[in-house]
């Protein structure tokens, strides 16, 4: 039953940007419900409003109208402190450009959110090492980011995203800057973590490889939800994509 609980609910969300004198409607009324524990991919061409929607779900941006609920809490109602708390404890972010903090070691990067969350130093270090082992970097926690490859940096980012046991992981094109094989490894890792820990993974992506592991794919087109496909329907469309290629 708990698997059917909605962790994210987007209701009639629109977003307008002002570009000079031009009003751009990035989102034109999106309704979306995401069940806890699912692996969701948001797909869409660039300029479709995919990133905008993604930022809304992450509490990084506020909608012009409509509401975004995370764990049934309206994000727009939160003040700066609560929003910071939400980002710290409820949501883990993974970026296309990894965004490992360059001046810190892998371990310090992973422990930073725990420090923000109020965890003691020793406990944070212990958990940090545990998480780095989980993502397969157990022997590299004292390395600086520039000593790590792209795939390894993304693994650090995944460990960091998991630091405070969030209920949601938001991954913005997590494989965008990685080669094919490393990208696949990262996707497998995300899927595995989502299954083992019951974390909801929401990723915005162009990557067709993502489709195979997604429980649900949300297609965004021109600021609207084009279609939502469950995994069972998916194999067909993946086949079609393959044929076209």
């Amino acid at each position: 039953m708990s698997a059917k609980r909605n962790i994210v609910r987007v209701s009639k969300v629109t977003k307008a940007f002002q570009l000079g004198k031009l009003d751009v409607q990035a989102l034109k009324g999106i309704d979306l419900e995401i069940a806890a524990g699912d692996y969701i991919s948001i797909m869409g061409p660039s300029g479709s409003g995919k990133s905008t929607l993604f930022n809304m779900i992450g509490g990084l941006d506020k909608p012009t109208s409509g509401k975004v609920f995370i764990d049934e809490v309206d994000v727009a109602q939160l003040d700066a402190y609560e929003l910071a708390w939400l980002r710290c404890r409820k949501i883990g972010y993974i970026f296309q450009t990894f965004n490992i903090i360059q001046v810190m070691t892998a371990l310090e990067n992973v422990t930073l959110p725990m420090v923000f969350g109020g965890m003691g130093n020793d406990a944070a270090v212990e958990k940090g090492i545990e998480l780095l082992e989980l993502v397969g970097l157990g022997d590299r926690f004292q390395h600086k980011p520039f000593e790590l490859s792209g795939g390894q940096q993304q693994r650090v980012a995944i460990a960091r995203a998991l630091a405070n046991d969030p209920s949601i992981i938001l991954a913005d094109e997590p494989t965008g800057n990685l080669d094919l094989k490393t990208g696949e490894e990262i996707i497998t890792l995300l899927k595995q973590l989502s299954q083992e820990r019951g974390v909801t993974v929401i990723s915005a992506t162009h990557d067709i490889k993502m489709l195979n592991v997604s429980d649900q794919v949300v297609w965004i087109r021109d600021g609207r939800v084009d279609k939502i496909e469950d995994r069972s329907e998916l194999s067909i469309s993946v086949g079609q994509v393959d044929i076209r290629e």
Binding site: S51, N55, G58, L60, D61, D71, E72, V73, D74, Q77, A80, Y81, E82, A84, W85, R87, C88, R89, Y93, F95, Q96, T97, N99, I101, Q102, V103, M104, L112, P113, V115, F116, G117, G118, N121, R160, D172, E173, G176
Partner: protein, 236 residues
Amino acid sequence: MSAAVNGKTNISKELKKAEGINRLVVLPFKKSVEIAYKSIKVRFFRSLITTMSLVLAVSFLSFVSVTNDVANGFLATQNPDLRQALVRSGYDIAPEDTSVGSSPKQKWIIVLSLLVCVVGIVNAQLMAVTERFREIGTMKCLGALDRFVLRLFLLEASMQGLVGSVVGAVAGAIFAIINNFIRFGTVVFVELALLDVLFSILLASLIGCFLSLVGVFYPALVAARMQPVEAMRVEQ
């Protein structure tokens, strides 16, 4: 439907109040000092350049005031030879004067150099903020509050300011003493009012620290107000 939603929102609001204490994001002071220290260390060369303008301005200030201290030390001895030596080396001393102060021209140059130094710090720190926007955005995504970022930048600047202005003040004082030694000989060391010199160094250091904080305040505010969504931007 909407009533049910409102009910639920209210419940979460209540919950939030009850958990209020647990729902605070924190950054212990010790940890902020550690992070600030590390980011200076990693960008050592860059920090050095930022600090250099402060070192130069403060050492100029310290040089001028220590030179005045030396002259005052001479005058305090009431020795006509020393007074004569001062006049010969260009001091404008009337017969009834018992001390020399900075001339308006000197003060003007000092103020100008400090002003240029602050502008230099603002410029360098604004560059540093732009350079680090991704790092700041990422920290905010991890739950950092505006004031954490502000605190990190202020701490960094005060560390740089402290080191830079102490180095500058001491260097300026040493240079002033050497300069006077060349002009007047060993009598400088005999008549040196050590307490006054120390006071001048201290004052110059304090002014330097203060200027460093003034210079970083606006850039730190820019950094603190940065939106976390900046971290998501792909283009460099």
